[in-house]
């Protein structure tokens, strides 16, 4: 009975039963017609025989008797023997008997028409229900696709009794659970972002005070070498901490997905020049060279503030890991598929053990002599570049130098 609870199946079964019932009735009617026909043919045949016998001078009474009295088996046997002599028996071909041929042709046509129409009807019903179910499934597929494309309020039609509806009801429950889960996850991330930014903001105030006190101590010029030395050191650490807090704030914002990039078309060479000039003073101070090669015509769609953050982290990283007289090269190139920014240095390079981890947060190399970094700059760069639809890759040879590739597919400019 479970199957018949499905309204569609019930309807389909009803239609099928109706068609089969129709077949039975029509076939019974045609059998009745067949019997009538047979009778008509037989009487006509008998009449012919009677007429023939009468014409040949047989007694009328005898002929009447021949057709109306009850015959016995012996009569049939004798008659068969007589007729067989003239080649007229059960084995006579149908073609030689025009009445039989006509009869056969007529009913063959009727049977064919009947079976053909019933088959077609059944086939039509079957394909109609198949089409209906197919449509239902297709619609559901489209809705599920819509759900996956982000319209989380879409639900399948599940207010019927049929099997599909029951399945759809389960899918709907799943969709609701997924949506609720997603919402919760998003809220958690927002909460985390807010926590990080709260902590960072709370830290900023005492940090600013500390920096001020430190400057006062430095300005005092006590003449005490130890005090001077350590106030210099704490000044450096304070700056580092400030940097860290700022980077953490940025990373938190990026992670929570709350920032909207203000993407505009900019000239790439101008942008790279700006980034380079930020580091020129430091490079001259440390006797390092920064060169830039970029076609003036290249234009890229990006958020200037954020991308310069990303690029400056990479350049800073290069300066941190090179020694005096080393050089850093920046290239901006365009090909048919993508715009590439390359930052190349011939500094200390990255140890093979490290290369898979350098974009992880707070990853500190065992091999790097640099004590200044905190391991967040490259992670931040990667987040920013990925938010621009780009990718960042690194190639490095330990002791030879490092090559960072920033690749922005042109599709994302749209």
């Amino acid at each position: 009975m479970l199957i018949l609870s499905d309204k569609n199946v019930r309807f389909q079964a009803a239609v099928m039963v109706l068609i089969l019932l129709l077949l039975i009735i029509v076939s019974q009617i045609s059998v009745m017609r067949m019997a009538d026909d047979y009778k008509r043919n037989m009487i006509a045949h008998d009449a012919e025989i009677a007429g023939y016998l009468l014409g040949n001078g047989l007694d009328e009474q005898l002929i009447k008797m021949a057709f109306t009295t009850q015959k016995i088996a012996v009569d049939q046997k004798m008659g068969t023997a007589v007729l067989k002599d003239s080649g007229y028996d059960e084995n006579t071909s149908n073609f030689l008997l025009p009445e039989i041929t006509g009869f056969q042709q007529k009913y063959a046509a009727i049977a064919l028409a009947l079976s053909l129409s019933v088959s077609l009807l059944l086939l039509a019903t079957f394909s109609f229900f198949l089409w209906k179910q197919d449509k239902q499934l297709n619609d559901a597929g489209k809705k599920i696709q819509g759900f996956m494309d982000g319209d989380v309020s879409i639900r399948l039609e599940d207010s019927y009794e049929d099997h599909l509806s029951r399945l759809f009801a389960k899918i709907n429950t799943m969709a609701t659970a997924l949506t609720a889960h997603m919402e919760k996850e998003k809220n958690n991330r927002l909460f985390l972002k807010e926590t990080i930014s709260d902590i960072s903001h709370q830290l900023k105030t005492p940090l600013a005070a500390l920096q001020m006190y430190n400057e006062i101590i430095l300005d005092e010029k006590t003449g005490n070498e130890v005090v001077d030395d350590f106030s210099q050191k704490s000044q450096r650490e304070l700056l580092r901490m400030e940097n860290l807090i700022q980077n953490l704030l940025k990373l938190a914002k990026l992670d929570a997905g709350t920032i909207e990039l203000e993407k505009n078309l900019h000239s790439l060479s101008e942008f790279l020049e700006k980034c380079r000039s930020t580091f020129m003073t430091r490079a001259e101070l440390e006797n390092k060279k920064i060169s830039l090669v970029c076609d003036q015509a290249i234009r890229l769609c990006f958020d200037e503030t954020w991308l310069s953050e990303a690029l400056e982290n990479i350049i800073k990283n290069a300066i941190d890991h090179t020694k005096a007289t080393d050089s850093i090269e920046i290239y901006g190139e365009e090909n048919r598929l993508a715009i590439e920014i390359t930052v190349k240095d011939n500094g200390s390079g990255i140890h093979p053990d490290d290369i898979y981890h350098i974009f992880e947060r707070f990853y500190r190399s065992r091999y790097s002599k640099d004590q200044q970094g905190i391991g967040i700059g490259l992670a931040l760069s990667k987040s920013i570049i990925e938010k621009h639809g780009g990718t960042i890759t690194v190639q490095s040879e330990w002791g030879e130098g490092t090559l960072f590739h920033l690749i922005f597919p042109k599709l994302t400019n749209l």
């Binding site: 019927y160 029951r166 009801a169 429950t173 609701t176 949506t179 609720a180």
Partner: protein, 227 residues
């Protein structure tokens, strides 16, 4: 995510002289997993509100959306299926079927939908509600508190999108009321269910994440300004 939302809901009974406006311009929304209680004096429209959001009655005007589906547009035949699958009810008078035992009462809504009950889940549910020992008892052999726990189990059985409780503790003494409230709270937290509960008892209203107050057909959220 809003599992339930209503927009400008109006319900009027009768016409002319005897016209009663039971609900006026009700726009509320409830998120998944929330425990919401509705309080208000008798005749203020609490039960009408519950009937509207439970798709038991059609609003005069306005929209009711449950889990993304517009309930006010559905036909009666669709509604009965929709209610069975998406809404669990707990009534003041339990409304258990006297001829069926505890377990049968709980799995009834699942069987009505021609589905096989998940035995593991039902067992867990019976354990949570403290009814494992009594699963073969008839409702008449149970106390009021136990009967209401069976009703809670029945509402939870199909894991509906929303559970509506109309004064679930109205017929119980204070000890049993406390038990039933604790269980309701615990079980909905366990299965992440959404509950809308009508209550007269202000102390039970405090169980809820949010409280709606109904007065003369107008619905107001208490403490909404804090949010």
């Amino acid at each position: 995510m809003n599992i339930l939302s209503t927009l400008n809901l109006y319900k009027t009974y009768g016409t002319g002289e005897t016209k009663v406006e039971a609900l006026k311009q009700v726009s509320i929304s409830v998120s998944k997993g929330e425990f919401v209680s509705v309080i208000g004096p008798s005749g203020s429209g609490k039960s009408t509100l519950l009937n509207m959001v439970g798709a038991l009655d059609q609003p005069t005007s306005g929209m009711v959306t449950i889990d993304g589906r517009e309930v006010h547009k559905m036909k009666e035949e669709e509604l009965s299926v929709f209610r069975r699958r998406n809404i669990g009810f707990i009534f003041q008078s339990f409304n258990l079927i006297p001829e069926l035992n505890v377990e049968e009462n709980i799995v009834l809504p699942i069987l009505l939908d021609y589905q096989k009950p998940d035995q593991h889940y039902i067992k867990e549910l019976l354990g949570l509600l403290g009814l494992t020992e009594r699963k073969h008892h008839l409702p008449s052999q149970l106390s009021g508190g136990q009967q209401q726990r069976v009703a809670i189990g029945r509402a939870l059985a199909t894991k509906p999108a929303i559970i509506l409780a109309d004064e679930p503790t109205g017929n119980l003494d204070s000890k049993n009321s406390q038990d039933v409230m604790n269980l309701l709270k615990l079980s909905v937290a366990q299965y992440h269910q959404t509950v809308i509960m009508i209550t007269h008892n202000h102390s039970y209203a405090s169980f809820a994440d949010r409280v709606f107050q109904v007065n003369d057909g107008m619905v107001r959220e208490l403490g909404a300004s804090r949010r």
